[in-house]
């Protein structure tokens, strides 16, 4: 952006200083708490009771964190979380992307009603719907399983996936698809030869968001599981009886994967939210 980079040059230096100190303060506001919880997670029992704390990375080691990982239930719940998130990703893309394609490429009777249904989900606290599902899930054998959690998380991620993939498919010019039809492709062939390769990065970004949505969800996962806890549900239930440094380690373990994923899709963040907030 040439216009954006041209502005600072003729900027009074005092105002420039103000802008940058504001930015620095907001960066610190985001980063320092994460740094501190990491210190807590790596500081172990002694770290928790150290007083007063300096905030410097002294006396830390990976041991306390590894100890936490080895404690009972953590690995299993970590894997359960991965499983539920995996199911969420697969289902929300498999169900949402075709709907997104239909919204992007066809005009049909009922399109507006469908969009309304999708948008309506946004006005509801969806995780709450886990409450009545307990009964039917018990009957269907889905209660206390990773599948059940994946299903309810898909309700959270699916509307998002449909709206975002609609935007992504709109971003693939219709003309390209038509050109493929003209030059010998059937509709299905054209979709896989032209649309899929071009939409792939955006679909991957959508998948990552679906993953993060599921990974972070606490309420529904806690309501629908007893023994097969996801990581969030496990941490919530053992919260009151676990020592402080275990809680910090749990927090760090929750944060790490999603931060990595958000980093991976950072380029699409704004495009996606620009689309889905329309």
């Amino acid at each position: 952006m040439s216009a954006a980079s041209a502005t600072p040059a003729n900027f009074p230096s005092s105002r420039r200083w103000l802008v940058w100190s504001g930015i620095a303060a907001l960066c610190a506001w985001v980063l320092v708490p994460i740094y501190l919880v990491a210190l807590g997670a790596l500081g172990g029992r002694q770290g928790v009771y150290q007083w007063p704390k300096t905030g410097l990375p002294t006396g830390i080691s990976i041991e306390p964190f590894l100890l936490f990982l080895r404690s009972e239930g953590v690995t299993q719940s970590f894997l359960n979380s991965l499983g539920a998130a995996g199911i969420t990703v697969v289902l929300s893309i498999a169900l949402g992307a075709p709907a997104g394609y239909a919204l992007a490429r066809y005009s049909f009777v009922g399109k507006d009603s469908y969009r309304l249904l999708v948008l309506l989900t946004r006005a509801f606290p969806l995780a709450i719907l886990a409450l009545p599902l307990t009964v039917s899930f018990i009957r269907l054998g889905l209660y206390d399983t990773v599948y059940g959690v994946g299903l309810i998380h898909t309700v959270l991620a699916l509307p998002f996936a449909a709206l975002v993939t609609q935007g992504i498919f709109l971003g693939v010019p219709r003309e390209l698809e038509e050109a493929a039809w003209i030059f010998g492709c059937s509709r299905v062939q054209a979709f896989f030869k032209v649309v899929v390769p071009l939409a792939m990065p955006g679909i991957v970004a959508t998948a990552v968001f679906a993953f993060v949505i599921s990974w972070n969800e606490v309420f529904a996962a806690s309501v629908l599981t007893v023994r097969n806890r996801t990581l969030t549900a496990y941490l919530l239930t053992v919260l009151s009886e676990s020592p402080m440094h275990f809680r910090f380690a749990g927090g760090l373990l929750l944060i790490l994967p999603s931060v990595v994923f958000i980093f991976a899709v950072r380029r699409y963040l704004f495009a996606i939210w620009g689309i889905s907030s329309k």
């Binding site: 038509e178 039809w181 030059f183 010998g184």
Partner: protein, 351 residues
């Protein structure tokens, strides 16, 4: 044989009639332009021929066989799109080869065809590049090469030059004509640019509000527009229309007595091409009040009024006229068009 017969094709979008009963016959190897302002239905007609749009009623036959209900891929045609539609995830080579690959042509044929058409369109150097790194003009060449590589019976072009800048457009126009003349493909070319249509086509179909107003060679539609719309749309400056009273089968224009077609009474509309005049002394000719004179180098463009009606007149560059002058004009009898002021339709040419 790939003649195209468009037989009473209609298209409605909800309550909007995009095409009202359009019929057109295009001979094998002929180059026909669909010309008209945006929204006239020309692109819709092209897309119906391509199979990208379904006609509400009517028939389209290519090479004698109806193509209604056939998928685009089964119609044996190629198309060049307005925004090129060059696949960004494939190299130029793979783009040009795309149609042949879909026909499962063997590698030797693909290679030969790609090299031949790339040579025709001067894109040999870019074959292994991706389209994102090409300019608009280069992408358009790729799009044309991709269409020609499959040696289609029918080539459809949808405003292929409209996204290029003026200079490039002129260059590509000449080049297209060279390439297509030798290919001998039946071509339908959609454009809103009358100079493109005039320069390239064997025949032009002028469209307006979902109707073909006139079909004819460029010279025919230029000199003998069948409606007021055609005259006004084709030519730069557009044809002038001057309302004149008819007295005893004649109109009087600055000393000239001009016979009008039989049956015209009351008033008549004179269609006058800007260059179908000659400057004479004010006393001897039809007086024109010049408001603005624009020397264009090759000619002199005058805007002003004749009998209080706006006209644009073209005189040789050697004439000197200034804004505010009044000049006399003598009309070229053989190049006048007479139209009914009520219907806007031309009277049949007087024998």
């Amino acid at each position: 044989m790939a003649d195209i017969i468009i037989d009473r094709v209609q298209k409605t979008f909800a309550a909007f009639h995009a095409l009202k009963d359009v019929s057109l016959t295009i001979g094998d190897g002929e180059f026909v332009s669909l010309l008209g302002p945006s929204g006239c239905g020309k692109t819709t007609l092209l897309r119906i021929i391509a199979g990208l749009e379904t006609a509400t009623a009517g028939d389209v036959r290519i090479g004698g066989k109806t193509v209604i209900g056939l998928a685009p891929k089964d119609r044996g045609l190629a198309m060049v799109f307005q925004n090129y539609a060059v696949f960004p995830h494939m190299t130029v080579y793979e783009n040009v080869a795309f149609g042949l690959r879909m026909q499962k042509a063997d590698d030797a044929r693909v290679k030969a065809q790609v090299e031949r058409t790339a040579g025709l369109l001067h894109i040999e150097e870019y074959l292994d590049r991706y389209p994102n790194r090409l300019s608009g003009g280069q992408r358009q060449r790729v799009a044309v090469a991709r269409a020609l590589a499959v040696e289609p019976k029918v080539l459809l072009m949808d405003e292929p030059l409209s996204n290029l800048d003026a200079l490039l457009r002129l260059e590509m126009r000449t080049e297209l004509k060279t390439v297509l003349q030798s290919a001998g493909t039946t071509t339908i070319y959609v454009t809103h640019d009358q100079t493109e249509a005039m320069g390239l086509s064997d025949r032009i179909a002028v469209m307006h509000y979902g109707v073909i107003e006139q079909v004819g060679t460029p010279v025919e539609v230029y000199n003998h527009p069948r409606t007021r719309f055609v005259g006004g749309f084709i030519g730069s400056p557009p044809m002038n229309f001057i309302r004149l009273p008819v007295i005893a089968g004649e109109v009087e224009a600055g000393g000239q007595k001009l016979a009008v077609p039989a049956g015209a009474t009351g008033e008549i509309l004179l269609g006058l091409r800007g260059e179908a005049v000659e400057r004479v002394s004010t006393a001897d000719g039809l007086p024109m009040h010049v408001r603005v004179a624009e020397p264009m180098g090759s000619h002199l463009l005058l805007t002003g009024s004749i009998r209080d009606q706006l006209v644009r007149i073209v005189l040789p560059a050697s004439e000197t006229v200034r804004g505010g002058d009044t000049i006399g004009l003598k009309l070229d009898r053989d190049r006048l068009t007479w139209l009914s002021p009520d219907s806007g339709k031309a009277y049949p040419a007087t024998p």
